[in-house]
Symmetry: C2
Subunit: 319 residues, 2 copies
């Protein structure tokens, strides 16, 4: 079982994106603010505006990379997800002109189901919870032989996510002292931590108290199942940290911190009310960590926050 | 009557912003996309994401510059506006710690009134239409001697707006071939056109068919009153093009184009649905011009769109 991913793979994937896929995958902007602009006592806060990414989240990077790295059978691609990973898979499949089958539980929102259909995916609504949709998806995959995409625990997804960090590097003359990353199954942080491995940049993991996948694993010394609920569970609600993310974060992630739903919600509203950034709750953990002091930067520190998604119901941003 | 503004004044103002006011005024990101990412047959589309500016629109640049360029009396500043100019004035006054009185007509939205109050402004709700609020504001200004800010027809506002174009210059190694700018009273386009005067970059004016201030002036050969209504009237609803803007645009604006409300609305929704950019209708005219073909770029052209504001009711982005 190899879970070793190298910086060179991220560089190579970024070159592939640059060379032929910028009609789909955006180099999302990096916005730099003095800490004082956000009321934070640090030198600079950088915002990687990944909520502007195609498909509404960073997941498009990994899903496109997964599809480009494999021969896609006639039956196309298949995924179990009612959220960002499903939307990103469907978008990448649409781009490449291959069929896409998405299994979602019946609890998934009508809005997301409509979005998947609009992207040309064949929707299979199966079971009342995610686990049932996943089981049906895996069963179906055995029949069709379609290429399976996983939301976070596939190397191509992690490498794709890492291209986000590689972009930060070339968008800025300096490097951030720290990068604060929201963690669900860990695909994003695994990619980012791989990029910054053995550099001076510290990578900090942030999770909701109600979905502490990585935090619980670190406490137990191994990946364990956790209960997940709360404001960001639709995006950060993996039950267990991914195998790849576990290995990478053990080596290269400096801290794992937890945030209350109240703090996440306040930061999400702040982003809209003060910066006009419409972001989903899972994308607000970095600002929440700064605003609550759960993460305390040094006064000369440059902190980078990854605003990782915007698949939200806009009504939730109304006060 | 001098209405001559120089590029050097814009450079000087940008230096002032950089040196001491970046806790307030943001260098908003420039996002570059290939034309194909938006379905447009041109080389590149640049988005200046000014909707992320403090106070939710570019107006903060001009209002801060107005306040910094004048001695502010004890009575503070005064403005008649129920929209972006009022919000920007109140925000700048709050930053500088000076009193701010804002006159709005009774038709101004409760949300905007609440926002003005939250920024510490003293609100005067007077009359049923803007003209009455303005008359009351001017009467009051005579009594108090407060510094009056005007939404667009003051040199400091135009120079401040020009800093947006100066930022584009330093954010990019190349220059755009064209910049598409929404026009209300013309403060923004006057600043941008001053910056690009006598360069290879063409500046294109865009207005709603239902608020054709500049277009009507160009047809008449002089500023004339027009009726204003429609989807973007709250931001682009000046009755007459400003005196400064008239002079600058006559010399340096290459085309004046009109867009239907339907096209503006479609572009506004597209920005949210495909790029997760929450922008007000007035900020969507550039994309509308490209998507309708009202403005047809050359295939090798680099077009810059100014996404100028995000003071909107999010409910309007729901389909």
């Amino acid at each position: 079982m190899s879970t070793s991913i190298h910086r060179s793979q991220i560089e190579s994937t970024l070159r592939t994106f640059d060379a032929g896929y910028r009609n789909f995958l955006h180099e999302t902007p990096l916005m730099k603010l003095p800490g004082s602009a956000l009321g934070i006592d640090c030198a600079e806060v950088w915002l990687k505006l990944e909520q502007l990414q195609t498909s509404g989240s960073f997941k498009a990077r990994g899903m496109l990379n997964r599809l480009l790295s494999n021969t896609i059978p006639k039956s196309g691609v298949i995924v179990a997800s009612g959220g960002n990973a499903g939307i990103a898979t469907a978008a990448a499949a649409q781009l490449l002109g291959v069929p896409c089958e998405v299994f979602v539980p019946s609890i998934s929102s009508p809005a997301k189901q409509a979005r998947l259909k609009a992207l040309g995916a064949t929707l299979q609504v199966t079971g009342s919870a995610y686990a049932e949709a996943l089981a049906a998806c895996l069963e179906r995959q055995k029949q069709t032989g379609a290429l399976l995409t996983h939301a976070y625990d596939q190397e191509e997804a992690v490498i794709g996510a890492g291209t986000l960090a590689a972009e930060i590097g070339r968008q800025s003359s300096g490097t951030p002292d720290s990068v604060l990353v929201s963690v669900g199954g860990g695909g994003l942080i695994a990619g980012i931590a791989t990029w910054y491995a053995n550099t001076a940049t510290r990578v900090i993991a942030l999770e909701p108290e109600l979905a502490p996948t990585l935090h619980a694993a670190r406490a137990a010394g191994r990946p364990v199942d956790v209960g997940v609920s709360g404001i960001a569970a639709d995006a950060l609600g993996a039950k267990q940290i991914g195998r790849i993310a576990w290995n990478v974060t053990q080596a290269h992630v400096h801290q794992s911190l937890l945030l209350s739903d109240e703090a996440i919600r306040a930061a999400q509203l702040w982003l809209w009310q003060h910066l006009q950034i419409a972001a989903e709750a899972s994308a607000a953990l970095g600002l929440a960590a700064l605003q609550t002091g759960v993460y305390k930067p040094k006064t000369d520190e440059k902190v980078c926050l990854v605003i990782c998604g915007a698949n939200l119901d806009l009504a939730t941003l109304k006060i």
